[in-house]
């Protein structure tokens, strides 16, 4: 079996781990800054451009996902578990695209400049409107909590497979290659 079919494509694996680190950092930065007085400003200044970077990577990842074949599910996963895994994958993709867009839209609706770094800033994507701002601001929080819970569920499933079922499910996403040769003849 070729290496591509037991592991995700190399770009997919890079994107997975890069975005995992960024999204987790983002969730913690977000929840910390909202409760912080002294570090609020510094954290917001990281939160905005990091969010836009996540949006860009999420788009690249979605395109990559559409044009690559996935390795088959490990035989240890039941049909039901596969359906749940596919649904949670769709949910994660939706959230990592929606969260930055909602954040961007929320700042637009709130009359805020969308500052990236130095003089670089983005244009508003929505008209300034108080109620729209309030709705998007709330939506941003709810989606972030949903992302965190989905992440925990994903991590639980991987830990369960790795520690209890021990089907080496992590190999599929490992950054290094596992040498798997064609079953021969």
């Amino acid at each position: 079996m070729s290496e591509g079919s037991s592991q995700f494509a190399y770009l997919s694996r890079i994107l997975h781990w890069l975005m995992a680190a960024m999204l987790l950092a983002m969730l913690f930065i977000g929840v910390t800054m909202v409760a912080s007085l002294g570090d609020y400003h510094k954290l917001v200044a990281i939160h905005r451009p990091l969010g836009i970077m996540i949006l860009i990577l999420a788009i690249i990842r979605l395109i990559n996902r559409m044009f690559t074949t996935l390795p088959p599910f490990p035989p240890t996963m039941s049909q039901r578990e596969r359906r749940i895994a596919s649904a949670s994958e769709r949910l994660l993709y939706t959230l990592m695209l929606a969260l930055p867009l909602v954040g961007w839209g929320m700042l637009s609706a709130g009359h805020y400049p969308i500052v990236m770094f130095g003089p670089v800033h983005l244009p508003p994507i929505l008209p300034a409107n108080p109620l729209l701002y309030a709705i998007l601001r709330r939506t941003h929080t709810i989606l972030a909590y949903l992302l965190f819970v989905t992440f925990l569920a994903h991590l639980s499933a991987i830990l369960f497979h790795t520690l209890i079922i021990r089907d080496r499910i992590l190999h599929r996403m490992a950054l290094w290659s596992f040498r798997t040769r064609s079953p021969n003849e």
Partner: protein, 511 residues
Amino acid sequence: MEGFTTIESHAGPIETMDRLEAAIKSRGMTVFARINHASLATRAGMNLRPTEVIIFGNPRGGTPLMQAKQTIGIDLPLKALVWQDESGKTLLSYHEPRWLAQRHSVEGLDETIEALSKALAAIATEAAGGSTGEGTGSAQGTSASQRAGSVTPPARLSLISLLARLVAIAAIIAAIAALFLYAGGWLTPRALTPARFTDRFEELSGRHPGFRRNHAKGVCVSGYFESNGQGATLSKASIFQPGRWPVIGRFSLSGGNPYQADAAPTVRGFGIRFSPPDGEEWRTAMVNLPVFPARTPQAFYEQLLASAPDPATKKPDPAKMQAFLAKYPESAAAIHVIQSQPKSSGFENSTFNSLNAFRFINAAGTKVAVRWSLTPFEPFTPASASDPASTDKNQLFDALIASVHHHPLQWHLIITVAAPEDPTDNATIPWPPDRQQIDVGTLTIERVESDDTSPARDINFDPLILPNGMAASDDPILSARSAVYSQSFTRREGEHKNPSAVSPAEIASHE
């Protein structure tokens, strides 16, 4: 049977074989033959339950094995058997590659054989219907093969080990969740957060939905800033290039009650948004105090508590204020500075100060610490000592409105540059009066509008919305202001808007 793996398929024999063939081909392997024993038997006039064998493989996979030991060639290509047993179950069987390797004493290709074994297991499981419901291929078919030790499911976990692993998983998830809750302030209910700060303002003035939680009462203004270019020596911000840029702003009185009666001693605020043409923004929120009465957010929070009116007397408790001033001597000194400065009669002749220090960065990269002020063109007249309890609850705003309708109001924007020894992290201390001051331009206010109709109502005059060329200093109040303003903004934007004390009609009446 030793080295012989059998799994149950969830499909019938023909479908299972078709799927097996597809799974093999999808992995780039060649199918050499499919031999249907059962139909051959029928042709020979004999009876056999469905039994079909498939022969498949790939030279790139098999050749290394034969290079290691040629005799293994008798067992290659690989084979898989699909058959139906007497109970009607469809089964899929194949030789374990490890067993074949043992049989021929193939040495040193453990990795290849392991990979081969996994690939075969995956193909077989795929053909067997993956596994509907709980019945995964390995779980069902392995009783025989496990005994033979041929497939590679890991050894069963002991009960203790299983429990330990489950506990470990739960602990990891719980730890991450707890860290998240801690980061969000949920586990530290006494720690000061923007939300709790804002709650305090609401407690002090009552909740007034739709209004700013502090500086609730105000009117909006607009006009322009004419930069004379002098500021460019200090900051590369485009606002300091010579030119005229639109501004929108809001005059306000401190306090969370949007319907309070105007009084000369109440702190006056002026929030401004400068909009240079490149899309950058500078927002500032200034007051008519020379210094800020607290050095840290915590001190300011405690000051709010100390100056809260006692429910019984409706007046602040002097003992609480004494205790606060004793605990924070810098606040006592700041209040002395504030009280020794005469108050002007109205908004139009007030000097407004940035209070906090900021950093300016010029085109050469030189950084300086600065504070800024707006000094009025209108002559200073002191606030009358005892305003006769005027029937006009909006007297300060009405005077401002009348002035703007009479002629545009103007202020100089003065930047004060710190000496190296001046504190930048302590807004309670005034900088000495001999510091370099640069007049960088003139602010002109031409129009005044009610909060009810102006976009400025929905602008958060966050003092840390700064253009490139300006940055926050190390003053801890600045970040806290930004955080609490944002909290107040988020709360009020979602609330129903009530009419403000200074209505559009009132503004029109002063024309």
